[in-house]
C-alpha cells in the first residue's frame, strides 16, 4: 500500500496531469499534489499521484555518504 516508485516527468498535461516514464514504461498520473514540476524532474508516484519531487542534490549527497559509510566499514574489517 505504501510502496511507490520513482519516475521521470516526460510531459505535462492540462488539469494537473502528466505523463511519467518508469524504466521506459509510460503512465498518466496526477500532479495535483506537487508544486512547480517540470519535464525531466523525478517524482515519487503512489496510487497514480506524484507525492513528492526527488531532490537530485540530496540524492547525490546520500549516495556519497553511503559510499563513505560502506568503505569505512571496509577499512575497519
Amino acid at each position: 500500500m505504501c510502496l511507490s516508485v520513482p519516475a521521470k516527468i516526460a510531459k505535462i498535461l492540462p488539469n494537473d496531469m502528466a505523463i511519467v516514464s518508469i524504466d521506459g514504461i509510460s503512465l498518466e498520473i496526477s500532479i495535483a499534489l506537487v508544486d512547480e514540476l517540470e519535464v525531466g524532474d523525478c517524482v515519487l508516484v503512489h496510487v497514480g499521484y506524484a507525492l513528492a519531487k526527488i531532490d537530485p542534490t540530496e540524492a547525490e549527497r546520500t549516495l556519497e555518504l553511503l559510499q563513505e559509510l560502506g568503505s569505512a566499514g571496509e577499512r575497519r574489517s
Partner: protein, 380 residues
Amino acid sequence: MKYADEFRDKAIAQGIARAIGAEVSSQRAYRFMEFCGGHTHAISRYGLEDLLPANVRMIHGPGCPVCVLPASRIDMAIRLVDRPEVTLCVYGDLMRAPGSQGQSLLRAKALGADIRMIYSTLDAIRLAEQAPSREVVFFAIGFETTTPPTAVMIRIAEKKRLKGLSVFCNHVLTPSAMHSILENPKIRDTGGVPIDGFIGPAHVSTIIGTQPYEPLAEQFGKPIVIAGFEPLDVMQAILMLVRQVNEDRYQVENQYSRAVTREGNRRAKDEVSQIFELREQFEWRGLGLVPNSGMKLKPAYAQFDAEARFAIHDLRVADNPACECCAILRGAKRPVECKLFGTVCTPETPIGSCMVSSEGACAAYWTYGRVRDEQLRRTS
C-alpha cells in the same frame, strides 16, 4: 530504475553492516521497530537481518494499512455492497483482507457483489462518470500517504458535480499509532517488547514531514530515523539509530532527505485539512481503540461520506482467537510463533491481516524468511 538501483548496492550494504558491527556495544541489545510495512518488506526481501549483529533485532510494527484494518470495517463494507445500487471501488490488496466468519471482499465479489479493483482514486472518478445511475463508493484506506489522493478525488467530484460518488473513510494517522505503541499500558502489559528506536515511515513522511515525530522522540526518549525503502536506506538508518543509542541521544533524523523535508508537502496537507477532520477514536487491529488516530470527512462534505449517506453503523467483531496478528503487530511475537502460520494461514488463504498484504510481517516472512529460518535451525 533511477533513484532505486543505486540504493541497492550489495558491496556498500556489506560495508555498512561491518560499520554497524564495529559500532555496536556487545554489552547491550538494540531493538528497533520499523513502523512501515515497506521497510519490513525490504528487510525480508534483501535478507538484511542476516547482515546485522545478533544483538541488533528488528521488530515489525503495525505500519501496513490493510494489516491494521479491523475485521469490523470489512464487514461494514460487505454490508454496504449488499445494496444492489452500490459499486464499491477498492485498492487491490484489500480484496483478501479477512472480515469475520471467513468473509472477504473477494468472496463477496464471487457471490455477485459489484466490487471493482482500482489503481487510483482517478479510476473511481471515471467509474462514477461512466455510471451516473450507480452509487460508486470508494473504500478509502491508508496512512497519510493515500489520504491526499482521496481528498483530491472529493475535490474533483465536487467540481464535476458527481452526485453518485462517496467515500467509506478508513484513513489513519501514523504518529498517533506510534504514540499508542509507546504509551498504551494494555500493549505493555500483554507482552510488547521494549523498543530502543524507530525507523520512521518513508512515504508518509514525504507528506507530513519529520516535524510531527519530534514530540514523540522527546516525550518517550526514543530516537527516530526517517528512512527510504531501499536496502541501503534501511542499513544507513540502522547505523544512525545505533549511533544515537550509543550516545544516549533521542532525536528525529532524516536519512531520506532526497524526498522528505521537515515541513513535508504543504499542498497535500492543505488538501487533507480542507476535507478531513479527526475522529475521536478509531479501531486498529492489534492496538484496539486509538484516540485521535483516524480521519473522517468534515460535515460540509457529508454528501461524499458513505457512512452518513448509507447510515452505516459501527460494528465490533472479535478476531479469530487462534490468530496471533495482534501480538505480531505489537512486536510481542514473531510470525513463526503463531500456530496458524504456514498451516491454514498462507498468502493464498490468509486468516490474519499480517498475511493478507504483501507488506504484512507474516506475508514477508512467508515469502522470504521461512526457508532462511529452516536453514538456520538445521545448521544451529
